[in-house]
Assembly symmetry: C2
Homo-oligomer: 398 residues x 2
């Protein structure tokens, strides 16, 4: 069974925070803590699904979900012991029928139906043995009023707001998470190459974006991030691919892109040039590339985000962009686009084996262009391993 | 300029709630209130961007955003009068350069840089003339601590939590919104037909999903919802297309699908059958289809969600599924997947011209299959207009 949750790290973070268990309420944390991916929770506001894991194995782990989302629980491999449902939803069932999902779903429908998510969560906490316990709860995903109602219903459980620690325990990835993130990153690479495949003068940014996202879909992922900018528009950090900006000889093409593969995000960047680069474009690219090359030399367990920031910034500045300034040279990535660690000037986050990060050195010069190399990597016991297969050099096309 | 905001409705809702202005904080409401689409706010947790509109035209409308997201403001057509930015972000700028975005961005960078979103929002409220005013604020999109900090900084502004009313004023769509929603729905239709084009025995649900999403991308939209289930798996409401379930002769194929086109969502459903339908499948489909045909007869301004619910349910029950049960027969749709009005048994929402709704009658029978017709429609002055071009009958393929 693919387990996303890193139990040793989870337990360590709970202990540091004197918590006996944790209730996840955001889509990302629920999936991580239980394996439960409740699609409606991911694609619109409102649907309430929660996951709980106790510190100790003698208490019961569970999910809370709407009756209408039980089908996901029947289809998916969950690593929790109980399912608590709320609200009415009509599944008809007349005959034994076929299919393992239907049989499992029928069984789940025999569990009691709570009125709402607060009632279900309160009952679940009681049943799991959390009376008298101190339980952390992620508030970010809760609908208004839920926290207060649960506190009323189970006054014996001390519910402590603890949003920040979910980011901490999600920072160090399991092998399953690393495999998905690697594939997600490599799908983004293939999508860049598909966007550039047969690229012609006069095509628009939107034309390339279409080829990019089509490859992402073909490889089983969902399009998410697709910044593709030509020439001077590459200097817009969040450039939205335009149908009217047409490719010209000598244009750089900045890709800052990535989809979602089995719920895990990609975020990588490469620069292509259509024809010959100018000397200045080559110089800018060499400088930002030097920053990433330096990152590969220095990343290892035990260094802080701040140390990595300094090394990377120095390398870019020494390699052709002495005035280079940045907020960060990267960030963790996982179920969400930005996770722990932060790679900023003052970051005290310590790199640990299993962390997955984007390392990046974007340079945006208004009226001229954007240059950026961004790789996805994981910290290993002894250093760093790249998820990337493409070279980091300027990509020549056309 | 494409304006998404419906000013008369906005003003009416503010007056009903005795508010002098409104601060939007979720991605959807910010886009609606200002035209500002801040991509990072849409694709990950954390980025803070806000939009404000006053009740009266003599106060100043504005957005608050991070310096790193100003490029969006330069590229997009906004209907606000001021931009307040916070935080450092490095755009280099050495020469006059080319491109209207770069010129505009340079100008925006001359505005003062506030420390953070709370400081920027407080300053903006002061500058806009909201001292002594009662201002509604959507709390759902705010990072922890922001509301408290803004209240400290501008004690003269009464900030009232008002999440629910954003849904009210977003319910009645402008012509621009209706045009986008129509196109979004029709892209979903074309994507269904692309998924079925050349469909063959032995193909998987995932194969059809790939063709579906590829067409969505080709038509300039982003994949979001893609429930495609064969035969008995069609009875899983949120079915996740499987690579292992292969299409067999006689299988029904349930599509409950839709992407996002220019930020506006689609959500439609059709049933296909690969080969000949069984009599029972035909009966189930006819019943759910009859519910939707009835909806087209009764939708008009002034009726409540509850009235529509009753008419549709009665029609399905009379047409072959006497035991039919449902929570709702549809919902509003717009920038989010579920909006006002609710079409439930007890809904007091009153249909108004310009509302856009999904009307749907899904029937899930475990071990047998799923049947569903779901159309996107808009309420007109005299009745209803469909966005759909496909017939609602069972689609024969193979």
């Amino acid at each position: 069974m693919p387990v996303l949750m890193n139990r040793p790290v989870f337990e360590q973070v709970l202990k540091e925070n004197q918590l006996d268990g944790y209730v996840a309420t955001t889509a990302e944390s629920v999936t991580w803590l239980s394996g439960y991916w409740a699609m409606p929770q991911w694609i619109r506001r409102g649907p309430q699904a929660y996951a709980f894991q106790p510190l100790k194995g003698d208490a019961e782990s569970f999910i809370v979900t709407g009756t209408g989302l039980l089908d996901h629980a029947a289809e998916q491999e969950l690593y929790i012991s109980a399912i608590h449902r709320y609200g009415f939803f009509s599944y008809e069932s007349f005959e034994e029928g076929v299919g393992p999902e239907a049989r499992l779903l029928r069984k789940m429908l025999q569990a009691p139906q709570h009125d709402g998510p607060a009632e279900a969560l309160a009952a679940a906490l009681k049943q799991s043995g959390m009376k008298g316990a101190r339980v952390g709860i992620e508030v970010d995903g809760l609908a208004p009023g839920i926290l207060e109602r649960v506190r009323e219903l189970v006054p014996g459980v001390e519910l402590v707001r603890a949003d920040g620690i979910a980011k901490k325990f999600r920072a160090t990835k399991t092998p399953e998470e690393i495999a998905r993130l690697r594939e997600s990153g490599q799908i983004a690479e293939r999508s860049i190459m598909a966007a550039l495949d047969g690229v012609q003068e006069g095509e628009s940014e939107a034309d390339l974006a279409r080829r990019f996202h089509t490859q992402t879909v073909r490889d089983g992922a969902f399009p998410v991030l697709g910044c593709i900018g030509f020439g001077e528009r590459g200097a817009l950090p969040n450039v939205d691919p335009s149908p009217s900006r047409k490719l010209k000889r000598g244009d750089t093409i900045r890709f800052d892109v990535g989809g979602r593969y089995r719920h895990y995000r990609a975020d990588i960047a490469r620069i292509a040039v259509f024809g010959e680069p100018t000397a200045r474009a080559q110089q800018c690219h060499s400088a930002v590339q030097a920053g990433i090359e330096r990152a590969y030399e220095v990343i290892r367990p035990g260094i802080t985000g701040a140390m990595l920031f300094k090394e990377v910034m120095d390398a870019v500045r020494k390699s052709g962009l002495p005035h280079y300034k940045r907020n960060h040279v990267g960030h963790g990535i996982g179920l969400d686009g930005y996770e722990v660690p932060a790679l900023t000037e003052n970051s005290t986050d310590v790199l640990q084996p299993g962390m997955v990060m984007c390392i990046e050195t974007p340079y945006y010069e208004l009226g001229f262009g954007g240059f950026q190399v961004e790789d996805m990597v994981t910290v290993t016991e002894t250093g760093v391993e790249s998820f990337m297969t493409l070279p980091r050099d300027l990509i020549r096309c056309g």
